[in-house]
Symmetry: D3
Subunit: 63 residues, 6 copies
Amino acid sequence: MPEVYVHAVRGRTAEQKRALIKDITDAVVRHFGVPADAVLVEIMESDPANKAKGGVPLSERRS
Amino acid sequence: MPEVYVHAVRGRTAEQKRALIKDITDAVVRHFGVPADAVLVEIMESDPANKAKGGVPLSERRS
Amino acid sequence: MPEVYVHAVRGRTAEQKRALIKDITDAVVRHFGVPADAVLVEIMESDPANKAKGGVPLSERRS
Amino acid sequence: MPEVYVHAVRGRTAEQKRALIKDITDAVVRHFGVPADAVLVEIMESDPANKAKGGVPLSERRS
Amino acid sequence: MPEVYVHAVRGRTAEQKRALIKDITDAVVRHFGVPADAVLVEIMESDPANKAKGGVPLSERRS
Amino acid sequence: MPEVYVHAVRGRTAEQKRALIKDITDAVVRHFGVPADAVLVEIMESDPANKAKGGVPLSERRS
């Protein structure tokens, strides 16, 4: 504990995910005063057709 | 914000998911008074073997 | 099933929450073809100090 | 209701998952006094590269 | 790991919650082959006005 | 997007939570290449009687 869940659209590299996990873990250790081994981080990836902002799935948005 | 997460078993079409996302977004805008672009909706699909009601996985239920 | 979780900051009235729950339930019934009694909706309210966009808690944001 | 979500790394057999779902359902019925059909259990599986303890993804940990 | 989240309406006693936590933990140990200390269980309680089945908040349902 | 949910036991100060939110947001911006305003962080606090490791609620654990 604590447990951190990151909801993100699929498409990041293993390296990006590893770096994010590392920095989030360090932030929890630093500010909440727990040992690193107590910190759980999970990245929950979704399909762009399953996630939407403003009512439009990301798979159909143009930037 | 707000963020809406819909847990559903895999198997709906893109059209069904798009329509649900649209109507949920509209409902949040209408009743919670936020702009559409602030509303996030994510459909979290699961395998029928991983979800159960009454202790029996959906993959094994008969209707 | 399905189950719908709405994460929102505290502060809406019972009437607003009741209306949102009703419309989300109807949308799931309409688009996913399930009976209303199978649809679960939960509003998960948070303290404005516990939620942030852009790294700043809502309790400290100015509009 | 209640709804139970189990976050676990991919890799268990259908038999293991079925047995866990059954026992969790029975425990909720026994202690919370609800009928079995009201209990929902979902196992949310993740990729070992997406889950970490101590800042290191499970895909890279040695035991 | 694994992490188990139980969504339930407020109103169970500490004894009921302790017993449920114990039995869920034992079930995960037994079927998923992990040590008890690796298992996290969290009960997420909600207000009956914030949870609904069939579109009607539990605070307004008659049995 | 992304959305980050931190499950933690109640008891941290506003300052600790603000600092954690800030550093997690920065980490997501840095590694996932999104603008800060797209990042949502929510700290979901729980009662020590509702959270357990090894089958024993935190409210009853001795260190």
